[in-house]
């Protein structure tokens, strides 16, 4: 079962049941709540997936520059944080959360190497936050939070093959 977001296509096994979450047709509170792009299930856990693709060959220069500004400031981390929190709330209230929740951000920027990915992941973990305060919280808010680029996705999530649609089209011509 393929999930497509812009120029990226990810192939999931059917039982992972990926669903487009950031869709005003199905998300009933899109006017006031942020939403991650996709939610899928795997091994009894729930995965929230957000895709950012500034390397998309079709991306407009203006859009890329805007993304870079957000990336260099704390705007992107804030956006990713609120997307997670709102998506969690919506799914929690819908009673659809199974197992632990893992948050994956697929950030397609070829300049991002493992060192920078690691530091981005740490930043997001602090912001969401990943830590559970001692005492009041009885349940986990998020189990893991990971920023991956395409290469890191391919190495670590090989069971969900990802590809660029434009690459496939170019090879075919």
């Amino acid at each position: 079962m393929a999930f497509r977001e812009g120029d990226l296509e990810i192939e999931f096994p059917d039982h992972a049941a990926p669903r487009r979450f950031d869709d005003p047709k199905t998300h009933k509170l899109a006017r006031c709540m942020k939403a991650v792009d996709c939610i899928f299930e795997w091994n009894g856990d729930t995965y929230f997936l957000e895709i950012k693709d500034p390397d998309n060959p079709k991306a407009q220069t203006e859009g890329k520059e805007q993304f870079l500004r957000e990336f260099q400031s704390d705007v992107l981390t804030n956006k990713l944080t609120y997307k997670y929190r709102d998506s969690f709330l919506y799914e929690y209230a819908s009673d659809r959360i199974k197992g632990k929740i893992h948050y994956i951000v697929l950030l397609c920027m070829k300049q991002l190497d493992s060192y920078l990915l690691s530091s981005r992941s740490d930043e997001l973990r602090k912001s969401i936050p990943l830590e559970r305060p001692n005492g009041p919280w009885q349940n986990s808010f998020v189990s893991s939070c990971t920023v991956l680029n395409i290469e890191a996705w391919k190495r670590n999530l090989a069971q969900f093959p990802v590809r660029r649609v434009s690459d496939v089209a170019r090879r075919a011509t």
């Binding site: 795997w42 091994n43 856990d45 995965y47 632990k100 893992h102 070829k110 190497d113 493992s114 060192y115 990915l117 690691s118 992941s121 189990s143 893991s144 939070c145 990971t146 991956l148 290469e151 890191a152 190495r155 670590n156 999530l157 069971q159």
Partner: protein, 349 residues
């Protein structure tokens, strides 16, 4: 312009047949331990050293031995180890086309037995150079040269040489614009200037004078560069060999260090450096501009079917992204993959 334009090593230490055409600017050597990065710096330095100063007219073999310091002084130990007799060849070419060749076998014991070719022509024009070793030595400078002269301490000569270079008298007269800018950048980083009292170096700034042993080791390295520029050891046409500039430097200082290296290149200094450090390497990538002349040399052992490891070979790239293999980013990838696995609690599988 003096620079090394070609290096050919045959059966020398880790190398079976290595040919490099260095950039006239910056040459960054990377590779895991034991891939001969420092050996390349040392062999080039030995060839430069015999063209100037007190090493001029010394036999190349003597300099090579003293720089490498093999067991019992047996230079034959520098020949790549094989089960049969073999011969090492070192051929170095400088700008203008002059070539120098040295040949010796694994049976060679005395430095006089190393055969050299065209040494007379090679040494006609000086190749000014400085070798900055991993361990900073200026704090140990007082008395070290005397001890070394008496051969009371078996130490690689690069350590003594750099102290001697640092002791050279400062140039007089106004500095040119480029040199001034470079010195200014260094003075900002070390927050002062270096002075010499007797045999002891001090950093002088508004707070007073601080002797080198009390100064952070990373700062001493930058102070050494300041001295080498001030005394004319690093000038247009000279060659800097710098082994692991990152040693004892906080990552926050790497930006300054790389800035200084680029400025040296713009001044006309050819630079050879080795590194194991991601931040340093990334700074080269970030600071490189169109006017930069930089080459990355990745050294690695080519797998040979019959042996676990083969001889060391090199792949060269003009860009950071083209470095292949890049053991530094490869290590970070593996580290990050471990982190990702931990995040997912061993899954999703």
């Amino acid at each position: 312009m003096s620079s090394i334009t070609r290096l050919w090593l045959q059966n020398f230490t880790a190398f079976e047949n290595l040919v490099l055409s260095p950039s006239p600017g910056i040459n960054v050597l990377i590779g895991v331990n034991g891939t001969g990065k420092t050996h390349i710096l040392k062999v080039l330095y030995a060839a430069c050293a015999i063209t100037e100063g007190e090493d001029k007219d010394k036999p190349f073999g003597l300099k090579l031995r003293n720089v490498f310091n093999p067991y019992n002084g047996a230079v034959g130990r520098l020949v790549r180890r094989k089960n049969v007799s073999s011969t090492a060849k070192i051929q170095i070419t400088r700008a203008g086309g002059e070539r120098f060749l040295a040949v010796f076998s694994n049976h060679t014991k005395g430095v006089e037995d190393i055969r050299t070719y065209r040494k007379f022509f090679w040494t006609q024009k000086p190749l000014l150079s400085a070798f900055i070793p991993v361990k900073e030595m200026l704090a140990l400078a007082p008395g070290l040269i005397a001890i070394s002269a008496k051969r009371e301490w078996s130490i690689e000569e690069i350590y003594v040489d750099i102290i001697k270079k640092a002791y050279l008298p400062l140039l007089t007269g106004p500095a040119g614009r480029d040199r001034k800018a470079l010195l200014g950048a260094l003075e900002n980083a070390i927050e002062g200037k270096v002075i010499l009292k007797g045999e002891t170096f001090f950093l002088k700034n508004k707070q007073g004078e601080l002797e080198f042993p009390l100064l952070a080791e990373g700062m001493r390295k930058l102070a050494l560069i300041w001295l080498l520029i001030q005394n004319g050891s690093l000038t247009k046409g000279s060659i800097l060999f710098w082994d692991e500039p990152e040693a004892n430097l906080n990552p926050s200082l790497m930006e300054q260090v790389v800035k200084v290296i680029f400025k040296l290149q713009e001044l006309g200094v050819q630079v050879f450096l080795t590194t194991h450090n991601y931040v340093l390497l990334k700074q080269f990538d970030l600071q490189a501009s169109k006017k930069s002349a930089i080459q990355y040399v990745s050294l690695f052992r080519e797998p040979v079917a019959s042996k676990p490891t083969g001889p060391v070979v090199a792949k060269v790239s003009d860009t950071y992204s083209g470095i292949d293999p890049n053991d530094i980013s490869g290590t970070l990838d593996r580290l990050y993959d471990e982190e990702v696995k931990r995040s997912f609690g061993g899954g999703p599988k």
